[in-house]
């Protein structure tokens, strides 16, 4: 119901990652301190539940791997050729969001200003090609900066002054 089904090869790779994660969880759970000095019963050790969940994930991953192999995951399998240019929107949204959340907020810059810069740059970047084609770059800058400033100030006011929530 959520998205289209990925190919068997993608499922195989995903199954491999999940299996690795499950094994890591099981190893972590097995090597976890069993608090022997507290003389606790074995069925209450802290690693019990994560270990069981790791085992459950491992079993499901194996089913996923076997199913994808039976569906022909290895027949003509190849890594999809990834051209960064085709995914510039994805890369841009990740870079912008991570830069804002890790670099801009909580490091001294006033929240409203950090948010205004982020919103303005975000809008400008994603409208750049269209605006350049239409010859409306200055208008694009104006729209981006205005939207950034208004949203930064309104969010700042709504959270901090209206609902008394602390801001980063």
């Amino acid at each position: 119901m959520e998205d289209e089904k990925p190919s068997p090869f993608v499922d195989l790779v995903a199954g491999g990652f999940w299996l690795a994660l499950a094994i890591a969880i099981m190893v972590g759970a097995w090597t976890m301190d069993r608090l022997a000095h507290l003389k606790i019963p074995i069925f209450t050790v802290p690693g019990l539940v994560p270990g069981l969940l790791g085992a459950a994930i491992a079993m499901a991953s194996l089913v996923l791997i076997v199913r994808s192999l039976r569906a022909g995951a290895l027949a003509g399998a190849h890594w999809p050729s990834v051209k960064l240019g085709e995914h510039w929107r994805l890369i841009a949204v990740l870079v912008l969001c991570l830069s804002y959340a890790i670099g801009l907020i909580g490091h001294g810059l006033p929240f409203w200003l950090a948010s205004a810069i982020f919103v303005a740059v975000f809008i400008f970047v994603f409208q750049f090609a269209e605006r350049r084609r239409d010859g409306t770059l200055p208008r694009g800058v104006l729209v981006a900066v205005t939207t950034g400033l208004i949203s930064g100030l309104v969010i700042h006011y709504a959270f901090q002054d209206l609902f008394l929530v602390r801001l980063p």
């Binding site: 074995i42 949204v93 991570l98 959270f159």
Partner: protein, 512 residues
């Protein structure tokens, strides 16, 4: 009965003050817009509003959240009808007949049907909420550690089974959620697990930042990664619902309302399954099957009644068992805990009035969607034509500030980022989000119940299977899993056919 009515009346009167009315109207509006905008979900809306209302009194905060939830589920129908894009996953079933009606120049009538179906669905669910919560609450008092363990496992398994199109992936997401809930100090000995000496991880992963990431940032990335398509809004006529649409299909409305409420009660399944199930049931029972998918009023009515009836339904297990019936209800549960309300089996003993307050909140929300359903069409059409590039960065700013607001620590912003990126990748790989969320919510209950049960039985596993309710729940879990094993299905169908043959032979014998 009378106590319930008095409780409901008292609760309604309690909300009849200017501040609460304004909160309800604003929240219904916000939910309506969030639901109508494709890409923004009810879960994200409720999660963001949770962070915004953290300092409000609990009654007002929960009123806002419930109004947002109901408004968002209703709002999704607007884009389904006008754009053929479901505003929320819950409205996917409404696209089929809603947009078909719009193509016939009947978009206004379709919106009227959606409004009447949604309001009536909310009322059916609301009545069920008022009647079943005390009953289920009493039943829940019989639950011990063994039953709660199986309830948590059942929630994750059934959610994994029904919310995606690949049960294995749903279960994996659910198990991952259960594991994530265990990160940090465990409850029995305060031992740090999987914290890698990161101090902030000792307190565990907070639910709200994780949800804001999985449903907020992941949505922002999903929407922005593709070039936006031009928005084509259908023309519309009057949106005032016609009485004949309600009277003619009253059976469909009642049936869909009950199905929606029932599905809401099942842990972690949610509104989209409720809408599709109501739609399928209406189609099976309809005298005009051939119209379904081509602009059936009955089909649209069924889908809209079902998904909105699911909202109060999903709140029933929240109140009685502290187990959410859907992803937005999971946020609602977290919000109740943040605001000091402790839902669970003792709610009818300790705080029965709260149940009727929630019923009253649902009623107020239904009035809110009725008002906006009749009045806001022109504004909504303008909002739908608003470019996503102007909305998405603002949504992300809200995600960041909302995550921070819960505990005033930047660590939660990083949790939101991590869950956003992981949630996006999992969606691309067809792993559903609802079981993951449910797993995070139920992880603590599952682990505590398992270890407490083992302590009580001194390590003996038998009580997990021998107590009647525990046995029933274990059987449900086992059957849900086995139903997805082809060999088991072949075996059961063979058994059924041989059983049928046996009956046919005995019938033939009687005839002779």
């Amino acid at each position: 009965m009378l106590d319930g009515l008095i409780g409901f009346g008292t609760a309604i009167l309690g909300f009849m003050n200017p501040a609460s009315i304004v909160y309800a109207l604003v929240a219904c509006f916000v939910g309506f817009i969030i639901g109508a905008l494709p890409g923004l979900t009810a879960t994200m809306g409720v999660a963001l509003m949770t962070t915004l209302t953290i300092k409000l009194p609990s009654a007002d905060a929960l009123l806002i959240l419930i109004c947002t939830y109901v408004g968002a589920i209703y709002g999704g129908s607007r884009s389904a009808i006008l754009l053929n894009i479901p505003g929320t996953p819950a409205s996917a079933a409404s696209c089929l007949d809603g947009h078909a009606l719009a193509r016939q120049g009947l978009a206004g009538r379709a919106m009227g049907i959606a409004t009447s179906g949604s309001v009536l669905g909310t009322w059916i669910g609301m009545i069920a909420l008022a009647f079943f919560t005390p009953v289920l609450g009493e039943m829940a008092l019989k639950f011990g550690a063994y039953e709660f363990f199986w309830l948590a496992i059942f929630g994750v398994v059934i959610s994994g089974n029904l919310t995606g199109n690949d049960p294995i992936k749903g279960w994996m997401a659910g198990f991952l959620g259960l594991f994530i809930a265990g990160i940090g100090q465990e409850a029995l000995y305060a031992f740090n697990r999987f914290t890698f000496e990161v101090h902030d991880l000792s307190g565990g992963i907070s639910l709200v930042p994780a949800l804001v990431g999985a449903f907020g940032l992941a949505e922002v990335i999903t929407v922005m990664k593709d070039r936006p398509r031009p928005v084509m809004v259908s023309a519309y006529d009057t949106v005032i619902p016609k009485l004949i649409d309600v009277t003619k299909y009253w059976r469909t409305i009642v049936r869909s309302g009950l199905i929606g409420t029932g599905i809401g009660i099942v842990p972690g399944v949610g509104e989209d399954v409720a809408a599709w199930s109501s739609y399928a049931a209406a189609r099976r029972a309809s005298k005009e099957k051939e119209l379904f998918g081509k602009g059936s009023i009955e089909g649209l009515m069924a889908a809209e009644t079902g998904d909105n009836a699911c909202v109060p339904g999903a709140v029933i297990p929240v109140l009685t068992l502290a187990v959410p019936g859907s992803a937005p209800a999971a946020v609602l549960l977290a919000a109740m805990l943040i605001h000091g309300v402790n839902p669970g089996p003792l709610i009818m003993v300790e705080n029965p009035q709260f149940v009727y307050e929630v019923v009253a909140m649902m009623f107020i929300a239904s009035i809110g969607i009725l008002i906006y359903g009749l009045t806001l069409t022109k504004l909504l059409v303008r909002v739908l034509q608003f470019p996503a590039v102007l909305i998405m960065p603002i949504i992300f700013v809200l995600c960041a500030v909302g995550s921070y607001a819960i505990a005033s620590r930047l660590f939660d912003v990083y949790v939101m980022l991590a869950f956003g990126v992981i949630g996006f990748m999992l969606r691309q790989l067809n792993f559903p989000m609802a079981p993951l969320v449910l797993g995070i919510v139920l992880g603590d209950l599952m682990e505590k119940s398992l270890r407490r049960g083992l302590v009580l039985s001194d390590g003996d596993l038998l009580p997990f299977f021998s107590r009647p309710i525990a046995f029933v729940m274990f059987t449900l879990v086992a059957v849900t899993i086995l139903m997805n094993v082809p060999a088991f299905n072949r075996l059961t169908s063979r058994a059924w056919s041989s059983l049928g043959g046996l009956f046919r032979r005995s019938d033939a014998g009687k005839g002779v």
